[in-house]
């Protein structure tokens, strides 16, 4: 696969549907899942563009789902060679380009390690799926590939021991990522205690910042960045503003979505309330303050594919357009 150009060269600022008036933000994005179909990817990208998006979060993870992996099952999608994957995704890349959509970020299949899973499957995830995901990312000229850290603290005894395993994995793909100009982004996740979603990997902003800096220093390149997931942060009560400002420029990618603070619902921001006043129970003001404080200048990307499952199919375009309008509102808040 061809090595990407330097990010600064190609990451030109793009408009957001209406003449690029929000100059600080590079674009608005959303997941391709439920919109871009393999049979006719160009149509899906055109729909995203028409809704007001200029970027997309390519849902590579849906080619090998977590549901099947947790059942210790896998399909043969990543058995394809890199060239075969390129051929497979050529219509997608072409369709995105023609529609004027840039693939800003991509999600690697997860989990990349299954505790108590079959050894062959774990080796396959680590040694086959992960490097090929980096290659696919580069093929799309997508600079940011989001990965999930390992959820092993219960078994290994501490978050530090868990991170050691994640770091070992990151080192296994960092050289390829560096070569291909891709930044691997770790994401704040949750764990489960009796159905109560609690802090999981990468929920400590200070530690994440230190680790990112250390690893990037080691490689002399930005091989590692951060993906802030608003929904996950809301579930475990993180202070958005503090977390974002702690990360600063290490924050490369966003997963914007909302929930009730109980379940990982991936719904439209401002959806949930908990009081009679009906004011949003997710701290969107803190989110905006945080992004403003670090002068966030990348893509406002929504991880709201489940919204398209809950709305009637006939309303897909309208639902996407509404999400894009919210993105524009966020953008205005950041540029004002």
């Amino acid at each position: 696969m061809a090595k990407s150009d330097e990010k600064g060269k190609t990451e030109a600022k793009e408009g957001m549907g209406s003449a690029g008036k929000f100059s600080d933000i590079l674009g608005l994005g959303v997941q391709t899942k439920n919109v871009v179909e393999d049979e006719n990817p160009a149509a899906g990208f055109r729909m995203l563009k028409a809704a007001g998006f200029s970027c997309a979060d390519f849902s590579l993870n849906y080619y090998l789902t977590n549901v099947s992996l947790y059942r210790s099952q896998r399909n043969d999608f990543f058995d394809r060679s890199e060239q075969e994957l390129e051929r497979y995704f050529t219509p997608h890349r072409q369709g995105a380009r023609e529609a004027g959509i840039r693939i800003h970020q991509m999600h690697m299949p997860y989990p990349i390690y299954i505790p108590n899973g079959r050894k062959e499957l774990n080796e396959y995830l680590w040694k086959v799926v992960a490097p090929k995901s980096v290659a696919v990312s580069a093929f799309f000229d997508c600079y940011y590939l989001v990965v999930h850290g390992f959820k092993l603290a219960r078994n290994l005894g501490s978050e530090e021991a868990e991170w050691e395993w994640t770091e070992r994995f990151l080192h296994s793909i960092a050289p390829i990522a560096k070569e291909m100009g891709v930044t691997i982004c770790i994401e704040n996740l949750y764990s489960n205690a009796g159905g109560h979603l609690v802090e999981g990997p990468c929920c400590n902003g200070k530690k994440a910042a230190e680790r990112i800096d250390r690893i990037n220093d080691q490689y002399g390149a930005e091989v590692l960045g951060f993906c802030f997931d608003t929904g996950h942060a809301n579930l475990v009560g993180l202070d958005f503003e503090e977390f974002i400002t702690t990360l600063g420029q290490r924050l490369k990618v966003l997963h914007i979505h909302d929930n009730d603070g109980v379940g990982d619902l991936h719904q439209i921001p401002f959806t949930f309330t908990k009081t009679r006043e009906n004011t949003a129970s997710t701290d969107w003001e803190g989110f905006v303050r945080g992004l403003r404080a670090i002068r966030f200048d990348k893509v406002l990307s929504f991880e709201t594919a489940p919204v398209l499952d809950s709305f009637p199919g006939e309303m897909k375009s309208e639902a996407l357009a509404f999400i894009a309008r919210i993105g524009e509102w966020f953008s205005r808040q950041l540029s004002s």
């Binding site: 009796g194 979603l197 202070d239």
Partner: protein, 428 residues
């Protein structure tokens, strides 16, 4: 580690006889006193405002006159003394998390001062004083609280009281998220800076497990960040979404606890916690009929002792000159993984004759009869969940020094579990 119990939901502050007696009868000898019972968060919310409707008012409101704290708490404190219940820890009045009042900082300071005086009189060494949050703009938290806490330091010294800061939630339109002192490292820094300013250890920390749970926090990491600064732990259960103070282990979903007890216990073990374990089951107690409270409190005592036992599990393992295990299954395997090197057993026993003479995790598996000939002082640790049946069997074998091991809250776990043994109903 001291165990105490909050009086809220159990003791009526005006008629404290029965509640304090119930507490004493359950075997507690220490209580966690909430001064909030004399000046509730909602009373504070209305401080200085005209009384609404028929406000019951033959008593002077402590919120209106803080010096009333002493006289109004005197009856409760006297009753505790009578029942030989020591107030080992107390919490000063505080505002509701969704307060609209931003003008009460001076009143709060005066209430904390009165609380310190009351602690001094009761011989209580720890007073939890929640940080100020209402009316404090972002970025001003430390400076405002620094002044607030330092104001209390001299009086606290005079009354030999240590002031404990506490982790807080922040109310965001009904959603409770991480608030002041909920970051362990920052909280540790606050405690250290305050102590440096007063040139003595006058400040410590109280870890509210309920708040950690509401914020979905990694309690292992939180406890380790604060270390020995943690002088008290408020032990309470909740579903992780709504404020509640339930007896630990009551909040479960599909058989799993909704509070991450594993990481709490790991954290308290790692820091060698030896302070006040303050049980707050006010929500559970209020839900139970007064007729059932005595039984509930007996259970509460057993729960607190169990948590203490788990935190101090290594102390139990180290008290024997040598140990033998009973059980050659997962629990024995977990023992060997985490403690086998430090406390190596002489051998293990099992009731399954097929295992006799075999080796399991490096231990010889012997029949139970082998326990008849043990070195002096050797402990026999039951490593099987059928504790009571095996204990009975061991007593029949005239085994001395029977102890229990439990692997629910291990420092680490294997990635897999061995298949259940004894599917034929045989123990071991």
């Amino acid at each position: 580690m001291n165990i105490s119990i909050s009086t809220i939901g159990i003791v009526n502050a005006n008629i404290p006889g029965q509640g304090t007696q119930d507490i004493a009868n359950a075997g507690f000898d220490k209580v966690f006193l909430e001064f909030g019972v004399f000046c509730s968060p909602y009373e504070l919310e209305e401080a200085g405002m005209p009384a609404k409707g028929e406000r019951q008012s033959d008593r002077i409101s402590v919120a209106d006159e803080p010096s009333e704290m002493g006289p109004q708490s005197a009856r409760m404190l006297r009753m505790c003394q009578e029942k030989r219940l020591r107030v080992s820890i107390a919490r000063a009045p505080y505002l509701p998390r969704d307060t609209k009042r931003t003008d009460l900082q001076e009143l709060l300071a005066r209430l904390q001062e009165e609380s310190i005086r009351c602690c001094g009189e009761a011989g209580c060494n720890y007073l939890v004083v929640r940080p100020l949050f209402a009316g404090i703009s972002a970025g001003q938290e430390w400076e405002k609280n620094r002044v607030y806490y330092l104001r209390l330091a001299a009086l606290a010294r005079e009354h030999q009281v240590m002031i404990l800061l506490e982790n807080q939630c922040r109310f965001v339109n009904g959603h409770l998220i991480r608030g002041i002192c909920s970051d362990g490292e920052t909280a540790a820094e606050w405690v250290d800076r305050l102590n440096q300013e007063v040139k003595e250890e006058r400040f410590g920390f109280c870890m509210d497990v309920g708040v950690c749970n509401l914020c979905g926090q990694d309690m292992h990491a939180f406890a380790r960040a604060l270390g020995k600064r943690i002088k008290a732990v408020v032990l309470r259960d909740c579903d992780g979404h709504r404020e509640n103070s339930l007896l630990p282990f009551l909040c479960t979903y599909q058989g799993q606890p909704q509070t991450d007890w594993l990481n709490l216990i790991r954290g308290l073990r790692d820091i060698g916690f030896d302070g006040e374990l303050a049980l707050d089951l006010s929500g559970t107690a209020s839900g139970f009929s007064p007729l059932l409270r005595p039984q509930l409190l007996t259970l509460a005592k057993a729960v607190a002792e169990y948590i203490r036992w788990q935190v101090e599990i290594e102390t139990q393992l180290g008290k024997y000159p040598s140990v033998v295990l009973f059980g050659a299954g997962n629990m024995c395997r977990n023992y060997m993984k985490c403690y086998g090197e430090k406390y190596p057993p002489l051998f293990t026993c099992d009731n399954n004759p097929k295992l006799w003479g075999t080796s399991f995790c490096g231990l010889e598996v012997r029949p139970p009869e082998a326990l008849k000939e043990l070195p002096d002082g050797c402990g026999v640790l039951i490593c099987n969940i059928y504790y009571r049946e095996i204990e009975k069997q061991l007593r029949e074998l005239d085994v001395k020094n029977i102890g229990f091991f439990n692997d629910e809250y291990m420092p680490s776990f294997h990635f897999d579990r061995l298949k259940e043994a004894g599917s034929d109903g045989e123990i071991g």
